[in-house]
Symmetry: C2
Subunit: 122 residues, 2 copies
């Protein structure tokens, strides 16, 4: 699959909230970078099993009221997707809206790097 | 300036279509990457004077009907901005809408790399 194929597949799966299926598009040595570290650790997660752990956390922690996925932007080995989520923490019931983009790098048909960048008010 | 400062400044200047002023935010060794090469050359332009040439081309070639600039998305050394333009070629009068994101990398308060990724229909 080329970059555009991977981008379209990510968008298709994430629109269905098929998080674990999307994991098949990841390289074993994926590096996944959040804007902030959770609990004082590194903002970087390495490896497919690490990303699976992030999905587990997301699914177990969040009630998802809506999850909007934009069309992908694609060039060369890179693509960008915008996510707009409305979620509540299942435990605390705290509800918040999140807007961020994912910047993905593709090599040999697999995602080798993803970075998440939250929106900054203009 | 940190990444967020640079991102906000780019957005502020580009919203005013102050293209040449925005050039002050670029590192001398900037690498600017388009999705496609123009005229069969490389899609990469290197150096501030190269980017100045791209601005000259843009300003001389395009009549800009509208140019919408989204809020920036920021994390670590990277930021992303979405651009939605409605432009006509001054010579051919051909009018078209363009939607793309810029993915920028910042080092020491200057933009060292920018990549432009056009939207792909979902």
């Amino acid at each position: 699959m080329n970059t555009e194929d991977v981008a379209k597949k990510v968008v298709e799966l994430v629109r269905k909230q098929a998080w674990y299926e999307a994991l098949d598009l990841y390289d074993d040595n994926i590096v996944s970078v959040e804007a902030y570290s959770m609990g004082g650790g590194s903002p970087e997660t390495r490896g497919k099993e690490g990303v699976r752990g992030k999905i587990d956390w997301w699914v177990n922690t969040m009630e998802i009221h809506s999850f909007d996925v934009g069309d992908p932007f694609v060039a060369h080995d890179r693509f960008v997707v915008q996510y707009d989520a409305d979620v509540s923490d299942k435990k605390t019931k705290e509800r918040r809206k999140m807007s961020e983009v994912g910047v993905y790098t593709v090599k040999n048909g697999k995602i080798v790097r993803e970075e998440f960048l939250p929106r900054v008010g203009g």
